[in-house]
């Protein structure tokens, strides 16, 4: 659906050249929800704007829907944009238009006749759950409702790709969840490809199938969300993963835990996918005559499965403890001994 080959974008300013995006290669498949995560200044805003030609790359190739959008003229590019729509962090609605008129705007741009416009607008209002609010002005809506209008507006011309520019960053956690649910449902219902950028790992975890991690203009890590969660490679990815799995907090308290539980062994188990559904703990207790103490636990749900960590204290005969750890290993659960005394 979308592929980027060696794409770079440089801005020249009075202070010198700024490299916003450098040598990025990405392949986004039809119908998937692809996330790009990075801190502010990582280049993700520029990257997403390259996908609909709001920014032009300095070098490289950007193929959207089998068309190299770096090579087409303004007229063709405007047609492409009707099929690659965008939603924004600050919604960017026209305050001078009502909800219905805002949603009708892209239809006016596409030259849809009045009669078809109003029936399409009604459909979209229902789709995003804003029934009865068509005549409201944006100033009368909450943030979540404004983003729903933004989504309805973006869907008006039946796009094939939806670009989300920090679409939930200005919303509270509860509203964020409801907007993310809406994105997943339109992805499933309409088979829409969604590309989103964010700095929140929760968003990636909740709805994305694949993720790319950006740092200083480069994509430093890319893969299935579950794989990235289970086995983050880069330090920055580890930091993002710890945002949700809380293992960062756990690491901070490991010293503390060692002091609290001086006896036996502290081990950390990492469960991925189906393993989280196996009764490993109860089997462990039944098979081995050990004191098993749960120190800390955490499960995160991602779009393609769950991901959990558990810290246990095993007390008892040293040989038996080693055997128990071997048993857990055999269950294909990733284990890590925290204190090796």
């Amino acid at each position: 659906m979308i592929s980027l080959n060696n794409v770079s974008k440089k801005f020249s300013t009075k202070q010198g050249t700024i490299v916003a995006v450098e040598e990025v290669n990405l392949d986004i498949k039809k119908g998937e929800i692809f996330g790009i995560i990075g801190y502010s200044g990582a280049g993700k805003s520029t990257l997403i704007r390259l996908l609909n030609g709001l920014e032009k790359p300095t070098s490289g190739q950007i193929i959207v829907n089998n068309q190299d959008i770096t090579k087409i003229n303004e007229v063709k590019l405007r047609q492409v944009r009707q099929k690659v729509s965008m939603i924004f962090q600050h919604f960017n609605l026209l305050w001078s238009r009502t909800v219905a008129e805002n949603i009708a705007f892209p239809l006016e741009i596409a030259g849809v006749p009045q009669a078809q416009r109003s029936s399409r607008v009604e459909e979209l209002i229902d789709l995003v759950g804003l029934e009865g609010r068509g005549h409201y002005y944006p100033s009368q809506l909450s943030g979540g409702q404004k983003q729903r209008v933004g989504i309805a507006r973006a869907l008006a011309n039946r796009p094939e790709v939806l670009l989300c520019d920090e679409a939930t960053s200005a919303l509270d956690p509860e509203t964020t969840d409801s907007i993310l649910d809406l994105l997943v449902s339109i992805n499933e219902k309409l088979g829409l490809t969604i590309v989103l950028i964010t700095h929140e790992m929760q968003v990636i975890q909740k709805i994305c199938g694949r993720v790319a991690v950006m740092e200083k203009g480069h994509v430093v890590e890319e893969g299935k969300v579950l794989d990235v969660f289970q086995n983050p490679q880069q330090p920055i990815t580890k930091r993002f993963v710890s945002q949700v799995s809380d293992s960062n907090k756990a690491i901070q308290t490991i010293q503390h835990l060692k002091e609290l539980y001086p006896n036996g062994k502290l081990i950390k188990l990492v469960f991925v996918g189906e393993q989280t559904e196996q009764p490993i703990l109860s089997r462990l207790i039944k098979q081995f005559d050990l004191e098993v103490n749960i120190v800390q636990g955490n499960i995160s749900h991602t779009q393609n499965g769950a991901f959990g960590t558990l810290i246990l204290q095993l007390e008892g005969d040293a040989l038996l403890v080693d055997e128990a750890i071997r048993y857990i290993h055999e269950q294909k659960v990733n284990t890590e001994v925290i204190n090796n005394d």
Partner: protein, 222 residues
């Protein structure tokens, strides 16, 4: 009673002058609004990062606006005498005031238009672009509607300035309350004529301001 208070006022003449002032103000405000909007849009769209970004065009428009905004109105009238004679054919009567009124006020309004357009959220313009809007669509459906309250309050202020300008244009014979106050009032020492003309101008200004405020509040949905 009223004739005792203002013994020298010729009421039919006063009424005629009022109508002339109203006529000059109304027509020049409409022309100023159109020309000012065009100039303001040009200033905005030719500025860096905008649709028609062009340094030379931006500099030329900016220079034109700044020069005509800086010339004192009374001098501008005199400077424009040849142009007025060419366009209108005479220097007398309300129509002769229009070139000076519009050329004096349009650059002033163009600056206000520019300020109003700059206040529009950049994100909204980006959103319109991301939907595949042409520049003409952006102008008619985003720039103008989104800045409308500021454009209306700007033209209200400009219209009020134009009432003042018509009075000045009156001194060189354009007619209206200015001419009446100057020739019949000041030069013949009839203070009551000047006073009545002033009161009528004040009422006119208040009404323009009131209408402008009313429209601005009505269209502002922010």
């Amino acid at each position: 009673m009223i004739n005792d208070l203002f013994p020298n006022v010729d009421w039919p003449k006063m009424w005629e002058a009022t109508v002339e002032t109203l006529y000059m103000t109304a027509v020049s405000t409409i022309l100023t609004a159109i020309i000012g909007l065009v100039l303001g849009l040009l200033l905005f769209l030719t500025s860096p990062h905008q649709a028609w970004a062009n340094k030379l065009a931006n500099w030329l428009t900016g220079a034109f606006v700044n020069i005509f905004r800086s010339i004192p109105f009374i001098i501008l009238i005199i400077l424009l005498i040849p142009l007025t004679k060419f366009l209108v054919g005479t220097m007398r009567g309300p129509n002769a005031a229009f070139p000076a009124l519009v050329i004096g006020a349009a650059p002033f309004y163009a600056r206000m238009v520019l300020i109003a357009l700059r206040e529009i959220d950049k994100g909204v313009l980006e959103a319109a672009k991301s939907m595949g809007a042409k520049t003409s669509t952006v102008i008619w459906k985003v720039l103008l509607p989104e800045s409308m309250p500021a454009l209306v309050s700007g033209i209200t202020v400009t219209g009020i300035s134009l009432v003042g300008y018509t009075a000045m244009a009156g001194i060189i014979g354009a007619g209206g309350l200015g001419t009446l106050a100057f020739l019949d009032g000041f030069q013949r020492g009839r203070t009551d004529v000047t006073l009545v003309a002033t009161i009528l101008i004040l009422i006119m200004v208040f009404i323009i301001q009131w209408i402008g405020d009313l429209i601005t509040t009505k269209i502002d949905k922010r």
